[in-house]
Amino acid sequence: MNIQFKKGVLELCVLSMLLERDYYGYELVEHISKHIDISEGTIYPLLRRLKTDGFVETYLEESQEGPPRKYYTITEEGKKACDELIFEWNHFVQGVNTIIKGDRHE
């Protein structure tokens, strides 16, 4: 896919997944790349920035196999940012859809 994705979209994907429950990196990457065509390696830098910005926190949890896994959890600030992003996204999509459907002939 030859598009430039703006951060907002990926950030929105990550944050809204984390609204449901905590995920470890691989799960996030796998789920997002199943639906959106991206270089998977770009999610980790994004996660790191979200952490620097205080939107997510991480903790290690033991797993049955191998070393502990790094889990990501959303903060209150992250939830607020996510709500805003969802609102903006819906507004944007609605606008685009209105144009695509050709309401201009009314």
Binding site: F5, K6, K7, S39, T42, Y44, R48, G66, R69
Partner: protein, 189 residues
Amino acid sequence: MNRKEFIETLRADLKGLPQEEIDDIIYDYEEHFRIGLSQGKFEEDIARELGDPRNIAKMYKVSSKIDEAESNPSPKNLLKAMFSAMALGFFNFIIVLGPFIVIIALLIGMYGISVGLVVGGIGSIFGTILIPFSHYHVNLGFLPVTAVSLGIGLTCLGVLLFMASLYLTKLLYRGTVKYLKWNIDTIKK
């Protein structure tokens, strides 16, 4: 590219970041490979899906330079962040760089004017006051009161303009950092 090559390239290209941060970043990718392998994927496939480790390293480096420019404001840090962002290949910087230089030039001009106003104002005040003590008799055609008030006015104007320039400089700095942030978040496939 297999796991080892990927990790080695990433580690080598992350050089310059704090060791602790590098280890933390590497941990994420080690974990990613480990889980991928446990799900029956091949190292080469996982590496290919992750993308070029050199680009990934650049993203981390630009990010950390921008954070540095934000938490530790200085022209040097800002330039570093801008150049590393340019190295990442944001074409739009070429378009942005022109206006940016013009704005910087305007700011420098504003500083120059404000300094000129202050110097002129102070000169006008003291020049007038000192006329009676001077050997030279310069008559500018102003009353001394006018000249002194003019001087005070000019000085105030200069100080105001200087403060405005400082404010605009801060604004420009913050704006640039914000713009850089927005740009590194543009993800190309």
